[in-house]
């Protein structure tokens, strides 16, 4: 059972992270590495939050919010992920289970953003209005911020309860297969990081190889 007061706190922070995702600031506290660390920190284990945050950040590297594209939302889902990993982790079974659930909840979040943008069309000033009171623009803008915050709060609250129970069910099975869980999550992370070289274009492959050589040196020396 999730403590209602804790759930309220988590949902409030989830609302703030949802705002950061697109509507307010975009200072990247909604990115998986940060959001999951906050989730772990709320449960008293920030390092565990950062651990799953690392995995989720790697998996989200390929998410590029170009134009009007609907993309998975990382803030609320990764906040929940960081908290759940502090509760159920450590270990590869928890890492795989919670990562899979967070990815799925991220799609739900992305869909809720798309719907909110349709709703925003009713709040925004319509095209071609010759004169508009400035106060009306400010009211509408702040109403949109409030609505986005509310969306984030609800998404986090429902997600926290649902994922808390789903993670318990999944873990019961996956705890018996830690090697397979590690293989699955390892392939996912490596694939996501390997894909990040695409962001820096093929002509930089020699630079990437240089970085890889330094990485091998660190692993050998460690």
């Amino acid at each position: 059972m999730v403590d209602p007061l804790f759930l309220l706190l988590l949902a409030g922070i989830g609302g703030l992270l949802a705002l950061d995702g697109s509507g307010v600031g975009q200072v990247m506290i909604s990115r998986p590495l940060v959001a999951a660390t906050i989730g772990g920190w709320l449960a008293g284990m920030p390092a565990e939050g950062a651990m799953i945050g690392l995995v989720l950040e790697a998996l989200h590297l390929s998410v590029l919010p170009f134009g009007a594209a609907t993309v998975p939302e990382s803030g609320p889902s990764c906040l929940i992920g960081g908290w759940l990993f502090a509760v159920y982790g450590p270990g590869p079974a928890a890492l795989l289970t919670i990562s899979a659930l967070v990815l799925a909840w991220g799609w739900v979040g992305g869909e809720s953003v798309r719907r909110l943008r349709h709703l925003n069309a009713r709040i925004a000033i319509p095209e071609g209005v010759p004169e508009v009171e400035p106060a009306s623009v400010e009211r509408r803008q702040l109403a949109a911020v409030g609505l986005d915050f509310l969306r984030g709060v609800l998404l986090t609250a429902f997600g926290a309860v649902a994922l808390f129970h789903l993670a318990r069910i999944g873990l019961r099975v996956w705890e018996g297969m830690p090697g397979l869980a590690a293989l699955g999550i390892g392939i996912g992370v490596v694939a996501s990081l390997a894909a990040s070289t695409r962001f820096f274009e093929a002509r930089r492959i020699r630079l990437a190889m240089g970085g890889a050589a330094v990485g091998i040196l660190i692993l050998v020396l460690a």
Binding site: M28, W174, G188, S192, A208, A212
Partner: protein
């Protein structure tokens, strides 16, 4: 339409607004996407950003304030960090009294470039590079707070710099802002950021293989995991995201049956 009041300051061909108005414009730009919608895109948010300057320049003329607010709430789009550049240029264009058609055409012309320059620089280059710094620090054993601090400080240095630079350039260049967008420092920043990102990507990839293969038994399994990961990278979003969720679900189904 009234021009700028006599108290607005013009120096050396540039157009200067008081610090409090510029600060308000930059701060409001942090909310520019709040009412983003599929009909007018940034429209209302852009008018929200323009308001402090519109109010300052036409403080004795409420009808002009209402007309300009309406005009700038029309369809517009931009990368959020570069919205101040369009705002600055349009504040100056409106103050010079060039007329609504010129302002509208200017906004249409600027829209595409601001989106693509911002997307390439911020989302495609700078953010992944900053994320790789954070991931890399964690993988070499740095404390969690250092990784988070490095990620946020690096990313937001560009966030704040672009918003402030955009407003200043927009105000000083006005209609000529297009040529300033082609300034070499933006292109250099993207190129050097991409160079650093490529080195970090290679480094972090190897460190991740070393870290995550520790939980996989046997050298063959480690090699298979690493090779499969690199091979899957081409289709990363559909394969890895859907694949990971399906892998987890199939595992549960098999675990329950056996």
């Amino acid at each position: 339409m009234a021009g700028p009041p006599p108290s607005s300051d013009r120096a050396g061909g540039g157009f200067v607004l008081p610090l409090r108005v510029r600060l308000a414009t930059v701060l409001r730009s942090c909310l520019v996407q709040a009412s983003w919608n599929y009909q007018t895109l940034l429209g209302t948010g852009f008018a929200f950003v323009m308001l402090p300057a519109i109010r300052y320049l036409h403080r004795d003329d409420p009808a002009t304030v209402r007309a300009l607010t309406g005009r700038h709430a029309d369809l517009f789009n931009s990368h959020p960090f570069l919205a101040t550049l369009a705002a600055g240029a349009l504040i100056r264009i409106e103050a010079e009294g060039r007329g609504p058609d010129i302002a509208r055409r200017f906004k249409n012309a600027l829209r595409g470039s601001l989106g693509s320059i911002g997307d390439q620089l911020v989302w495609r280059t700078w953010r992944p590079a900053c994320a790789l710094v954070g991931i890399g620090l964690l993988l070499v054993g740095a404390p969690w707070w250092l990784a988070i601090a490095a990620y946020l400080l690096l990313f937001n240095a560009l966030n704040v710099a672009l918003r402030w630079w955009g407003l200043e350039v927009g105000l000083s260049a006005g209609f000529e802002v297009g040529s300033r967008l082609r300034s070499p420092w933006l292109a250099n920043l993207r190129e050097r950021g991409a160079d650093a990102g490529a080195v970090l990507a290679g480094l972090v990839l190897v460190l991740a293989i070393g870290t995550f293969s520790a939980g996989v038994g046997g050298m063959l399994a480690k090699l298979v995991a690493a090779a499969a990961g690199v091979a899957l990278a081409v289709w990363v979003r559909p394969v890895v995201w859907v694949g990971l969720v399906l892998f987890w679900l199939i595992g549960i189904a098999l675990g329950m049956m056996l």
